[in-house]
């Protein structure tokens, strides 16, 4: 057990969970979050491999892309509800996944325009990041980077949930027509929430790419989106802080517990997913608000 590795992943999952909480916590289920996360990771990897490993360049770019994708989802959310929105988010997820998987050409160097993502082989050897000339190459520095992004996301979430903005989101979740009737601009508020969510997910992607130093299309797969959704639902959707952090802790704790009981290798990975599946079923029956949530699944 490497504590710095665990801290890095805790920060990453916490950022992802907090970001998705802005959507799931307010009444929409999306399956496109893994794809936005992957977009952030690829953005950092490509910028670091071609231009500069400085985060002051890659982070705004990744966050901008994430916000754009979030805005696209919000436009879909204003037109589609329930199952139809889930399907439309799946359309977005599949398109991003396929673009990442198929943007390759044999015989061309990786990250060249015609082979930007290197297809299924992914991009290896992504440089460690730096900020204004200070290299963040040690595991400790990366853990601090991951936790500081998580703290920033937490702070934004904490402030917004307690503000009039958060109250409009809650009102729209509970009764959208009533919220509109009271003169609240539900569409704009939701657009901002989706944009914020996309930006934070892309930020988590930057952390992943700079820590793992390798990105491949599986990051944008449906399985990844399902995992992120599991974190939020198990922790508790709609919670200001405790839900996403509890979910992130749960996802990290399961493999460690399995290692403790000597379940390792491929079996451990299957048992881990099996436990997530059981957790999802039990949560919907026994505690629809999640382990530390404030509002049930809608």
């Amino acid at each position: 057990m490497n504590p710095l590795h665990l801290l890095t992943y805790f920060g990453l999952y916490a950022t992802l969970a907090i970001s998705l909480n802005f959507i799931v916590g307010f009444g929409r289920i999306t399956l496109a979050h893994g794809a936005i996360y992957a977009t952030g990771a690829y953005c950092y990897a490509i910028v670091a491999l071609t231009v500069s490993r400085d985060l002051t360049l890659s982070v705004p770019l990744a966050v901008g892309l994430g916000v754009g994708l979030g805005a696209l989802l919000s436009a879909l959310a204003s037109r589609f509800r329930g199952d139809q929105f889930v399907l439309m988010s799946l359309v977005v997820q599949t398109l991003i996944y396929e673009i990442i998987r198929n943007w390759e050409r044999a015989g061309v160097d990786p990250v060249a325009w015609m082979n930007l993502t290197n297809g299924t082989k992914g991009l290896a050897g992504v440089p460690r990041p730096s900020i204004a000339g200070f290299s963040l190459s040690s595991p400790c520095a990366l853990a601090i980077l991951s936790l500081s992004f998580a703290c920033a996301s937490t702070l934004v979430s904490w402030i917004l949930f307690a503000s009039p903005f958060g109250r409009v989101l809650k009102a729209a979740r509970d009764d959208e027509i009533a919220a509109r009737g009271l003169g609240k601009d539900v569409c704009s508020t939701r657009r901002i929430a989706f944009g914020l969510s996309g930006g934070m997910a892309a930020l988590a992607g930057v952390v992943y790419a700079s820590y793992a130093r390798y990105v491949d299309p599986s990051l944008a797969s449906l399985d990844e989106s399902v995992l992120i959704l599991t974190i939020v639902l198990v922790g508790g959707a709609g919670s200001r802080l405790l839900g996403p952090l509890t979910g992130a802790f749960f996802v990290l704790a399961v493999p460690e517990v399995l290692r403790f009981v000597k379940v390792t290798g491929a079996t451990a990975s299957s048992v881990q997913l099996l436990l997530y599946g059981i957790a999802l079923v039990l949560i919907t029956h026994l505690r629809p608000r999640g382990l530390a949530g404030e509002h049930g699944i809608r």
């Binding site: 289920i29 199952d83 399907l87 398109l95 048992v271």
Partner: protein, 289 residues
């Protein structure tokens, strides 16, 4: 011609699976993702039983019956209690997703991750309708056509089929008329399990199987249902055939890499232009179920 045949057979398999999804979705509005787990389990169970007993005549029916029981269990154990408590569609979705992950991982733990096939070695190929038809594809097409024909005959001609259509059309009216919707729901889930297993076994005979095909197949089925029309029993059939045709045409024109892109773009366009699917009728937002 080869592309047309392949697209048609693939479309039939998707139609059958889409119908398995639709038969639950229509009367209960449950987004039955656990179907993916049943889809994965059925061929593994059939092959295991066949290896042990040496009889396909025994193993295939047992696999289908097991799928029916699993499907009914999913309803009795999870969806019915949730419905009784008035849980939201999202809760059903999450619960079903959990069941799918659970079932799939149980299959992985028992039988492993490796792709498998019912028939080892090279498949017999015959020339039919101007194209080369492997025996597995012909068997798959025949099984799907038989399954679809049996289902629609039952739905249109039997009394229970009529009641299931009525429940799908207006569940509230059925309850007011004193009809038990719980028994009909059990029938729907059982049917879904049977159709899902049949589609899975047909696809397994055609192209082989592995534990990771469940979600892909289920998503294809859901896409087909939404394209064809989710409030109609004919929608999944039409949607499945269209998805098969789009896939085959994309493979023919651009290669296998872009088939999902084409299907999902088509779905996106359909949802924008025909929110209730191609066979769904336009209606005022406040009247939509």
């Amino acid at each position: 011609m080869q592309v047309v045949i392949t697209g048609f057979v693939s479309g039939l398999e998707i139609s059958l699976l889409a119908l398995a999804f639709g038969v639950v979705y229509l009367p209960s509005r449950v987004f039955f993702l656990a179907m993916g787990g049943i889809y994965v389990a059925a061929p593994f169970l059939a092959k295991e039983l066949s290896d042990r007993t040496g009889s396909w005549a025994f193993s295939l029916p047992v696999a289908i019956v097991s799928a029916i029981l699993l499907s009914i269990l999913a309803d009795l154990g999870s969806h019915r209690p949730l419905s009784r408590r008035g849980a939201s569609d999202g809760a059903h979705f999450v619960s079903s997703l959990g069941q799918y992950i659970f079932l799939m991982q149980v299959v992985v733990l028992i039988w492993g991750n490796d792709p498998q096939s019912f028939v080892p070695g090279v498949e017999t190929i015959k020339t039919q309708f101007g194209g080369r038809v492997p025996l597995g594809q012909a068997i798959s097409a025949a099984a799907c056509i038989a399954g679809l024909a049996a289902f629609y005959a039952w739905l249109l001609l039997s009394n229970v089929g009529l009641r299931l259509r009525a429940l799908a059309s207006n569940p509230m009216e059925m309850q007011l008329a004193g009809q038990s919707d719980t028994r009909l729901r059990t029938v729907a889930f059982g049917l879904s399990g049977a159709l899902c297993a049949l589609s899975s076994l047909a696809a397994a005979r055609n192209v082989g199987f592995d534990p990771h095909t469940g979600m892909v197949a289920t998503v294809s089925a859901i896409v087909a249902t939404f394209i064809g029309g989710r409030y109609s029993y004919w929608g999944p059939f039409l949607g499945g055939l269209l998805v098969g045709a789009i896939r085959a045409a994309t493979v023919w024109s651009f290669g296998t890499r872009w088939q999902d892109v084409a299907v999902f773009l088509f779905l996106g366009c359909c949802l924008l232009l025909f929110p209730n699917g191609l066979l769904g009728h336009r209606q005022r937002v406040e009247y939509q179920p």
